[in-house]
Amino acid sequence: MNINRFARNKQQPGVDTGRRNFLKVAATGSAGFTLGISLSAGAQAQAQATTASGAVNALEYNAFVSITPENVVRIYIKHLEMGQGVYTGLATCVAEELDADWQQIVCEHAPVDTAKYANLLMGQQGTGGSTAMANSFMQLRRAGAAAKAMLVSAAAQRWQVPIDEIRVNEGVVSHGSHRATFGELAVEASRQTPPATDALVLKTPAQFRLIGSENTLRKDTGKQDGTAIYTQDVQVPGMLTAVVAHAPRFGARVRSFDASAALARRGVRQVFEIDTGIAVVADDYWSATKGRELLQIEWDESSAETRSSDTLLQQYRNLVETEGAIAEQHGNAVDTLASANDKVELVFEFPYLAHAQMEPVNCVARISGNSAELWYGCQSATGDQAAIAQLLGTRPQDVKIHTVFAGGGFGRRANPKADYVLEAVNIARQLPDTPVKLVWSREDDMQGGFYRPAYAHKLSAALDDQGKPLAFQARIAGQSIMAGTSMAAMMVNNGIDNTSVEGLTEFSYEVPERQVELHTTDVGVPVQWWRSVGHTHTAFSKEVFINALARKAGMDPVAYRLSLLTHNPRETAVLKLAAEKAGWGSRELPAGWGRGVAVHTSFGSTVAEIAEVSVQGNNFKVERVVAAIDCGIAVNPSIIRAQVEGAIAYGLSAALQDELTLSEGVVDQSNFHNYQVLRMNAMPVVETHILASTNAPSGVGEPGTPPIAAAVANALADATGNTLTRLPLRLS
């Protein structure tokens, strides 16, 4: 999900003078937020009575850290671990200030408790917008420092020595000949008064031992041996499995159905209608699926979306020739363009995209009386909990959610309508006290909607006699992601959904006059954010367009960009680092190869990517990508590189082949045979370079995705002379 707008508007937790900024963010970002690390004695006692884990004997120092007498430091992770490395990254922040031994750290997902675990940039508990580290960095360091202060104070009491003479190193507290592990001090430490937030002394970056280290092994363990548990693996005694027959067209409803053959099928327990289709509940997934195949369903398609994606895109191409709602305006770009001697115009097109995360969406739910218990990879904790409570007519605190690892997300699991979660609840409430696992097949997942919307853009520039832009205009046509969601009030202003235009607004290149316009279309295909949201399309058109201007001016694409970024030291530095590491202008390419560059800032971070492609006839291969990122302090460089590699792979998949189409409202693709995604044989060599920084950490999960498609298109332009403006990229 995208909360980039707030992140930009509000100061992020700083590194040195953190407290003031931190409190400011906390106060503005959330209603009723409590600082998780400065619980009063009473609150602390309560925390001990009801530990986050429900474990007995765990001594909770604050909402995030508990240390057991067995010398285990347990860290409660308020964000969903879906591969982006939050277990490791957030644990690093705690362990750094706690001076724990990395080996003694274990992580678990925090329960849903908005008061304790809100995302400080969102004001509610949830993961998205690449904010996990940005909003947690100071909070979790303080949590670690607070726990350490209590351990030290317990040791001082036990040994009767001054506090400031006590050392803490790798999980051992010592003074002279005295030594104690955290576990040995745990009980006494829990009786100490928690320190006030402003009494905490945090390390300076020069004192970091874990932050920035290459050797912190990941804490989301069990993924190499099959023991990690995902929703798909949750076992609850007495659990049944459900699948749902959804309508073939979005917006259709069940008119009538005949379940007799399905009910006669071995293993099928119940078949009933819910608001999203017909649910088949069975002993196992296979039986449920076979039962579903036997259903006879008549659909009422009177309010269904029946247009084809081709028709929609034709409409969008027409729309961008007309004036749209103004999203941003500087000067009078329209008049300058109208009177320009030299002008460039390009029209871009983007298809719908499925997330196609490896684990199709799924959810385990049990409804008993007024309360609900769920197990799944919960990404929008506060929102999902509220939606479930509303559906059941109960209170949020009666909805207990156990968060497990998610098999990828890329945006799909943070559904503002809690779509698949409510579907699971709607099924489970028909079988009181029985746990039900809702499983979507790959086909259900791919055809179930909530796609990255299709868009058309038209970009125009008026040029001076050096080929530099005097005026720039962007027109965008497509669906709004935020419209109709609970976030519309925040994200849609005067009819402009910021996520439709972000990346083209706040244009990074220096152009005196600029105008961005939007046509928001009304289409019955459900849409949603997809890794990097609006930047998935705006970075492509912006960077292909600027590259086309450079080529027209006969200038080197890096030099041309740098000449328009003199006011933007950050993009300048990142672009220069990528160019240097890629051997831009120095490394000779084999015949038939091309090289392309793109740079883009999103989620608080800047990424430049340089792609090298080899071209043979109408085929091409991306051979090598060199990326540079400025994401502030690099808490875990290995994870940052992994995220950039993964973000490039994800974006490259869309650049090369992902495309979801509809024929008269029916999704044409159903599985990986006809929705082709990137496989190992198409993966380039990726090199990632991290810019050294002392700024607060910013986003890492998404910012690597936006530049890649443009870098590849620009490399193809270099190799072939043709500027490609449609994704996925095709040479013929």
Partner: protein, 158 residues
């Protein structure tokens, strides 16, 4: 009807339809949940397990056809090649979400049990049936190479 399956060296009897894919028999009936479901049509490799040592997509293999074969799931991996793969996976921090990784480990292990000096092309050929949406491909490749050299140094995969 009842079928007897040999999984990880043990006999398991289960009463399911013969056309049930082995994937669902091991997951839903025998609770070996390390083997994952990703596509159900032999496209993604998440469900890869070993049948008589060969990497096989269990989502399209009927239970009836698995009778009498030696089935190994990720829970039963133990060969030196498997251990080398798994320790390389941890050391290089290969998994991201991890959902595809059981299948990746099974495919990589099967490759290295046959070939302890795989080229990039060998790795691409053996691994391109395993999708990873998190894009861990560069680290998978590096992990296979690391495991291969460890196997060679230790004197072979067997």
């Amino acid at each position: 009807m009842p079928y007897t399956l040999s999984i990880n060296g043990q006999q398991h009897e289960l009463d399911v339809d013969g056309d049930m894919p082995l994937l669902w028999a091991v997951r839903d009936h025998l609770h070996f949940t390390g083997t994952k479901f990703g596509c159900g049509m032999a496209q993604c490799g998440a469900c890869t397990l070993h049948i008589d040592g060969v990497a096989t997509r269990s989502c399209v293999l009927p239970v009836a056809d698995a009778v009498g074969k030696a089935i190994t799931t990720i829970e039963g991996l133990g060969s030196p090649a498997a251990q080398a793969v798994q320790s390389a996976w941890v050391e290089l921090q290969v998994p991201q979400c991890g959902y595809c990784q059981s299948g990746q480990v099974m495919s990589a292990t099967a490759l290295l049990e046959q070939n302890d000096t795989p080229t990039d092309a060998d790795i691409d050929a053996a691994m391109s049936g395993n999708i990873c949406r998190c894009g861990t491909y560069p680290r998978i490749k590096a992990g296979i190479k690391m495991a291969a050299s460890q196997i060679r140094n230790a004197g072979g995969a067997a």
